[in-house]
Amino acid sequence: MPQLNPAPWLSILVFSWFVFLFVIPPKVLNHSFMNEPAPQSAEKPKFNPWNWPWY
């Protein structure tokens, strides 16, 4: 089986890891995901105002 010829093994390892580390992750990481649009409700949510000091 020609796959078992060990001659190109090191170059295949180096090259495939190069592609796997430097070509694909930037493409994957550039995808950004938006929050789901939420319907605006009639009443504003209750909130507690900031009442403790800046440290």
Binding site: Q3, I12, V23, P25
Partner: protein, 227 residues
């Protein structure tokens, strides 16, 4: 020189240039970099959607520590799925049929999961070598068996992908040759064989995607044990 069906797996070289380099560099043209826009075109939206779905599926069962591996494993998934699927087109070379490539990914990533487990939680990681509820006299035997199964994992991971893809490509070539040879002799049989070829190709498309997924899934399982 006899026709050798394994010749399709030889790392192709043209004028001294190893073409596996092209086979590894060109598929990523199909994944355009998303622009900094809120809404992109259909291709990028679809790819982004499938990436987020896959990430959600794979990493929900893992705890926080395992989520650090998300970029790596999703990149690997995109890598393997694209290479597998593009290899089904005629006259393309599939780098994932090369044992060297699959072992090059299986061994370091498996080793990384083991080392992470042994470094951060050595007791738990070693504890996986003995299943719960083992009867006392069986304990030494079982530890040996579990250790062997641990070390066979990277081998199985690499060889599984290689063998599945190689076998698929080989079958396609065999049946296609049969159709081609039968066409002038017995056209009806040739048409039946061609329908077998069609079904086989559909199977291979499924296998291509499944095998890539299984690779990643197993790595995430090994990660789950160790993180």
């Amino acid at each position: 020189m006899m026709l050798n069906f394994f010749d399709q797996f030889m790392s192709p070289v043209l004028l001294g240039i190893p073409l596996i380099a092209l086979a590894l560099l060109l598929p990523w043209i199909l994944f355009p970099n998303p622009a900094a826009r809120w809404i992109n075109n259909r291709l990028i939206t679809l790819q982004g959607w499938s990436i987020s779905q896959a990430t959600h599926q794979l990493f929900t069962p893992l705890n926080q520590g395992g989520h650090k591996w998300a970029t790596l494993l999703i990149s690997l998934m995109i890598f393997l799925i694209s290479l597998n699927l593009l290899g089904l087109l005629p006259y393309t070379f599939t780098p994932t049929t090369q044992l060297s490539l699959n072992m090059a990914f299986a061994v370091p990533l498996w080793l990384a999961t083991v080392i992470v487990g042994l470094r951060n939680q050595p007791t738990i990681a070693l504890g996986h070598l003995l299943p719960e509820g083992t009867p006392l006299p069986l304990i030494p035997v079982l530890i040996i068996i579990e250790t062997i199964s641990l070390f066979i994992r990277p081998l199985a991971l690499g060889v599984r992908l290689t063998a599945n893809l190689t076998a698929g490509h080989l079958l396609i070539q065999l049946i296609a040759t049969a159709v081609f040879v039968l066409l002038p002799l017995m056209p009806t049989v040739a048409i039946l064989t061609a329908s077998v070829l069609f079904l086989l190709t559909l199977l291979e498309v499924a296998v291509a995607m499944i095998q890539a997924y299984v690779f990643i899934l197993l790595l995430s399982l090994y990660l789950q044990e160790n993180v």
